[in-house]
Structures are given as structure tokens and as C-alpha cells.
Amino acid sequence: MAKLTIQAENCKGCGLCVDACPKKILRIDADVINHKGHAPAQMTDESRCTGCGFCALMCPDCVITLER
């Protein structure tokens, strides 16, 4: 099974991972603010993650780590 980690403190909240995810299980939660002042990406349903890595591929900030 794929294990996805988002380093929320380093995320710039750009949302490119959210759009890249075919399963639409990532989202930006505007109510959470990290130390940079950005609303980071969050995983909403880990059980549906296929480990495709599209999110990490489109992340400009190397914030997403995928172990599979």
C-alpha cells in the first residue's frame, strides 16, 4: 500500500497536487495556516490513494513523499 506524507509546513498551498490527483482525495483546507502563511494540502482519504505519484510529480516544492 502507498504511504503518502505531506510536509505541511513547507507547502505553499498552490493546489497543483490537488488538480493532479486522479482520485480527487487531496484538498486545500483554507482554515489551516502553516508558518509560511499558506493553507497546506491535506489528504482526505488515504484508503483510496493508488500511489500513482502524480501529486508529487506536479509539486514544485518537493513537499510530497510517497513510499510504496
Binding site: 513547507n10 505553499k12 498551498g13 498552490c14 493546489g15 497543483l16 488538480d19 493532479a20 499558506h38 500511489g51 505519484g53 502524480f54 508529487a56 510529480l57 506536479m58 509539486c59 514544485p60 516544492d61 518537493c62 510530497i64 513523499t65 510517497l66 513510499e67 510504496r68
Partner: protein, 251 residues
């Protein structure tokens, strides 16, 4: 197994790039190519003047910065003085296609055994989004508030098409950083551009279409869409020259 992570050739530093700016994706692809080829200990990168001027903070490599546009000349010197070193430049479109056009064209014409990563975001990003030689016809920028006017400003420079006319270059390709499919193709092209140098094949340039959400006045997502709808049709993706290939593949 960690499938996707920060490449070893990159430092842990957080970049200064704006949210969603694809400079970050292109940095990662350069780092992945250096990792894949195992050349981290012998690679020198040359940062440009432009948003990527601080690239030396982001790569675990010996790095230097050239005066605006002069990176290919600096690369020529570094490579000729120490041919075992792998030398790459990372240059924006203002840097390479405007003030540094002469250095880029002549390095290509001499067939220098160097690798150029040419990041075309159709504006001068660092200085606030002025019109670049690569800005599209009609494109609104800081210095073309009514859209780039052909009668006044001429038409964009298509760097790959132009350099592919020269005999000496080994590999000239244009890719884009706007979708999963295109980023995967960009990864292959960048790795090839480095491998060519390792194999002593000669001058390789990869133009990567990149976004500047901040100066385009778009969200990161809309910037990727604009690249697909407006930029890629004007700057077709593909391999423009590949002396090692029997058939040129324009996908």
C-alpha cells in the same frame, strides 16, 4: 521504497519561488537527472540573472552565477578548462533569448559539450513581468498593457526552431511543465541532455515552458491551463534536433 522525493542533488532549502511556479518542478527534474546519472560529485551549475539567480542555494553542487545572459560563456570556460566536469546552465527567457542571445547562439554554433536548461515563461519574472522576446503576440505584460503589438514589437523568438538550424548542436528539444504527461516527457529530455554531455556528444538544450502565475496574473492552476491553451500552440513541443536519433520523434 521511496518513489518520489527530493532528489539527493538538491539541498533541503525551501525555495523562494512563488506558490505554484514551475521553476520548482524544473529544479527537481534537473536534480533527478543528476541523481540518475550519478554525476553529483562532478557537476557544476551556472545560475542566471532572473528568478533562478538563487539556484545555488537549491542544488547540492558547486554552483556559480553569471552576469545576465553570459552563462553559456562561463560554461564554455569551465568545461574547456576541466573537460571531466559536467557543466549546465539554467537560464530564463529574458536571460537567454534577450541579453544573452549571442552567447547562447555561439555556444550552440561551436557545439560546446554543455547542457542548457532554458526556462521559458514568456516574461521577465524577477523584475516584475515585463515583456520578453518570448512573450506571445497580444500577451498583456507590465510593458505591453494593451497586449504585445506585432507592429511595434515584432514577433517572438522561437529558440529551439532557430538553434535547430545550426549544424553543430547535438540535441534541441522543447518540453512543458504543465501536466503529468508533459512533466514526464520533460524528465526524459532533461536526463538525455545531461547524458549527452557525459557521453561527450556535444551541445544540448532543453527549453522548458514554465509558468509565472504571479506576473501572468493567474492562479497556479489557471497558469497551467493558459500554457496548454495559448503557449504550447505557439511553441510546439518536441525534439527539434537529435543527431543520435535515426528518426526525429516530435512527440
Amino acid at each position: 521504497m521511496i518513489a518520489t522525493n527530493r532528489p539527493h542533488a538538491m539541498t533541503a532549502a525551501q525555495t523562494h519561488y512563488c506558490p505554484g511556479c514551475t521553476h520548482g518542478i524544473i529544479h527537481r527534474l534537473v536534480g533527478e537527472a543528476i541523481d540518475a546519472l550519478g554525476i553529483e560529485g562532478r557537476t557544476i551549475g551556472i545560475a542566471p540573472v532572473g528568478c533562478a539567480v538563487l539556484a545555488y542555494n537549491y542544488f547540492n553542487l558547486d554552483m556559480t552565477v553569471a552576469a545576465h545572459g553570459r552563462a553559456p560563456a562561463v560554461a564554455t570556460g569551465l568545461k574547456r578548462a576541466n573537460p571531466e566536469t559536467i557543466v549546465f546552465t539554467y537560464q530564463g527567457d529574458g536571460d537567454l533569448a534577450s541579453i544573452g542571445m549571442a552567447e547562447a547562439v555561439h555556444a550552440a554554433a561551436r557545439g560546446e559539450n554543455i547542457t542548457i536548461i532554458f526556462v521559458n515563461n514568456a516574461v521577465y519574472g524577477m523584475t516584475g513581468g515585463q515583456m520578453a522576446p518570448t512573450s506571445l503576440p497580444g500577451q498583456v505584460t507590465q510593458t505591453s498593457p494593451y497586449g504585445r503589438n506585432e507592429a511595434q514589437c515584432g514577433l517572438p523568438v522561437k529558440v529551439c526552431e532557430m538553434l535547430a538550424q545550426l549544424d553543430a548542436p547535438e540535441y534541441i528539444a522543447r518540453v512543458a511543465a504543465n501536466s503529468v504527461k508533459n512533466v514526464l516527457a520533460a524528465k526524459r529530455a532533461i536526463e538525455k541532455a545531461f547524458r549527452n554531455q557525459v557521453e561527450g556528444r556535444g551541445f544540448s538544450l532543453v527549453e522548458v515552458l514554465s509558468t509565472c502565475p504571479t506576473n501572468w496574473g493567474k492562479t497556479p492552476k489557471d497558469a497551467l491551463k493558459w500554457m496548454e491553451s495559448d503557449m504550447i500552440p505557439y511553441y510546439p513541443l518536441g525534439v527539434y534536433k537529435d543527431r543520435s536519433a535515426v528518426v526525429t520523434d516530435r512527440t
